[in-house]
Symmetry: C2
Subunit: 386 residues, 2 copies
């Protein structure tokens, strides 16, 4: 186990009818806020109405920034920063899924920063100061509601890059599983894959002696496997939605990472795919994860893929290679059962793009820590997933 | 799953050579502090020397309160409160195990309170304000380093009672597993039982639909089962000590409780036993846990004891009763393998005391939420454990 510093400061209000906690959390922080949301699903859910009623009751001045899209864009972030500056807003509230929350984080970091907010994503600037953030979560998957990560797409440079800072953890997040009842089937499935992938990115680690982290990771994988299919069959099943929502937060709030070096190659590759094609992140992950597994599992002296196949999929057998292969097949079959496509060609990628994509992925930073991948390795994974 | 509010604010520095973080954490909080420790093991470990050197370098004035005993006492707490008031101390640092940390919490709550600090434990007062707290952990078991719980013994009334408040969570805790290399064999074993029991108190719950919490709980039980015996065989095994130390914090920081009603009957009963006999808490738990299990498992419509036997001890079979019984036998055998006694008569309890103990336990508050126990039930459990 590596040394680590545990610091998960976000307060989470979890359960039905917890939105009213905004009344307590916002007025003590600011009297002028930016309220950010996406396509309008929060209006159908009644969240918009309840939030604005609370703001009015407590005489909180607010500006709205709506229309945040999946794979959220730098342009939107800049618009949010401008609104905060023009109206002297001191707090940013997100209501939506990971895209809205990630946008809010970038806005919160960008307001006190004089340069281009893209600097945080390219590594040209560090986050030293932010506006405080609160979130109301309406889609389970990214885990952004409890962590300090944000991923933003720069459409000009066709880059989708991440920033990470404990300063970007929301002060509070409202997690009401019933807000996710109306999440469409495909997006629910993509969320399950996203959670599953977040766990795997941390499970597959070169760090020895991470028993407790690995067993907890397996607990969360089991939860995805049990409740993902139930949420698809019964969208209004509160317990299934609750299990997935809480698992999604735990999967990426730091708990699984503390004490470990983690991989994140599949995410690095997928971010390029969705920057180029605008495919839903979870769908890209469903396609790329098995391809990554097939490629890197050939060189796995610590037997992590054997553990995975045995513990997660209950596969036993004498031949290690066969056990590992079956574990990967089961993973593919699980994603397929959720309705995910399995090839890049099915989501708008052109074969002619793969070389440039591999080059660009490697140029954006080191790829993979379970196994470090060079440009040729990444190209091979993309090709195998094509 | 029940609604819950997640709020674990303690920052944890985990790993070798993390004590130097005091240099960052203390000076920003206070220039006059109380430094509390126990029997002097921190002097043998070199912790005392390093802590006082840091305090001197940063011109922090400090008073010492040493000699805190296992099953820490109200008298010690009052002495600490007096020191803080007399010397205008604004921060309390604990270096030791759960007893030292619990004492520090009671001191921190008592300083700004005008009444008797025992009021917090009897329920006659609520914690509204505390001095800030930091800890350096040297024994794994109680989980006090990351939660807002404290248990104090009143030798006059022969009561051992608990207080709980998020305000009592330490601001920071230093967890260096190598500090636990020299913990004696019996105390190491008692710590493992304490962790195991904390998990079980939360695992056995009347709340339905707590899949993810239950699977995480099982992960932590596996960790105790794997690394408890290794730590006894190889006291200097860093990884075993690290696994146990981190598991101990996670077992009682709230993670397993969120969304569930939890039991805590065994702890309520044990607190009386150790208030009367001064037996080590974990030893009392090793004796009482199987007796509690045998008593309450006869009425378990949700099949929690079946899950426990199957998932934790791998016991299968058609006859439910036999499966449950084997699970309890395995639990007993595990505690015995750690060198724990199995009968109350072996730790200084007199049979003639059992009736009064049962009456006193029930008088201190409701006992058990997985199954509510009345005085006769508690007496039967004590008798069966005798």
């Amino acid at each position: 186990m590596e040394n680590f510093t545990y610091a998960i400061s976000t307060r989470v209000y979890f359960g039905r009818d917890t939105l009213h906690n905004l009344e307590f959390e916002i007025p003590k922080r600011a009297s002028r806020i930016l309220f950010v949301y996406g396509s309008g699903s929060i209006k159908r859910l009644g969240v918009y109405e309840e939030v604005t009623a609370i703001l009015k009751t407590h005489h909180i001045q607010y500006q709205e920034l709506s229309g945040v899209q999946p794979n959220p864009r730098l342009d939107t972030v800049k618009e949010g920063i401008r609104l905060c500056r023009d109206h002297d807003l001191r707090f940013v509230l997100a209501a939506g899924g990971g895209s809205v929350i990630d946008s809010v984080k970038a806005i919160a970091a960008g307001v006190p920063y004089k340069g281009d907010p893209w600097d945080f994503f390219t590594g040209n600037a560090q986050v030293h100061n932010t506006l405080p953030i609160g979130t109301v979560l309406t889609v389970a998957g990214t885990g952004s509601e409890m962590n300090g990560n944000a991923v933003i797409t720069n459409t000009t440079s066709q880059q989708k890059l991440a920033v990470r800072s404990d300063l970007l953890r929301p002060q509070f997040s409202i997690l009401d599983p019933s807000f996710t009842f109306t999440v469409p089937r495909e997006q629910t499935a993509a969320g399950v894959v996203d959670i599953f992938s977040h766990i795997l990115e941390q499970y597959f680690s070169p760090t020895p002696d991470t028993y407790v982290q690995d067993r907890i990771s397996e607990s969360l994988l089991y939860t995805c496997m049990k409740y993902g299919p139930i949420a698809l069959r019964e969208p209004n099943n509160y317990n299934a939605r609750a299990q997935l929502m809480w698992t999604s937060s735990l999967a990426l709030n730091g708990l699984l990472t503390y004490g470990k070096i983690t991989d994140w190659a599949t995410h690095a590759i997928e971010h390029k795919v969705s920057a180029v094609t605008d495919v839903t992140h979870g769908i890209g992950l469903a396609i790329l994860t098995p391809a990554w597994m097939e490629y890197v599992s050939k060189d796995d002296p610590a037997g992590r893929f054997i553990d995975y196949a045995q513990h997660i999929w209950g596969i036993d057998g004498r031949k290690k290679e066969a056990v590992v292969k079956k574990g990967i097949e089961k993973t593919k079959a699980f994603f397929a059962s959720l309705g995910m496509p399995s090839r890049l060609k099915d989501v708008g990628v052109q074969e002619s793009q793969l070389r440039d994509m591999a080059a660009s992925i490697v140029a954006s930073g080191d790829v993979g820590k379970f196994r470090r991948l060079n440009e040729d390795n990444v190209y091979t994974i993309l090709k195998n997933a094509y």
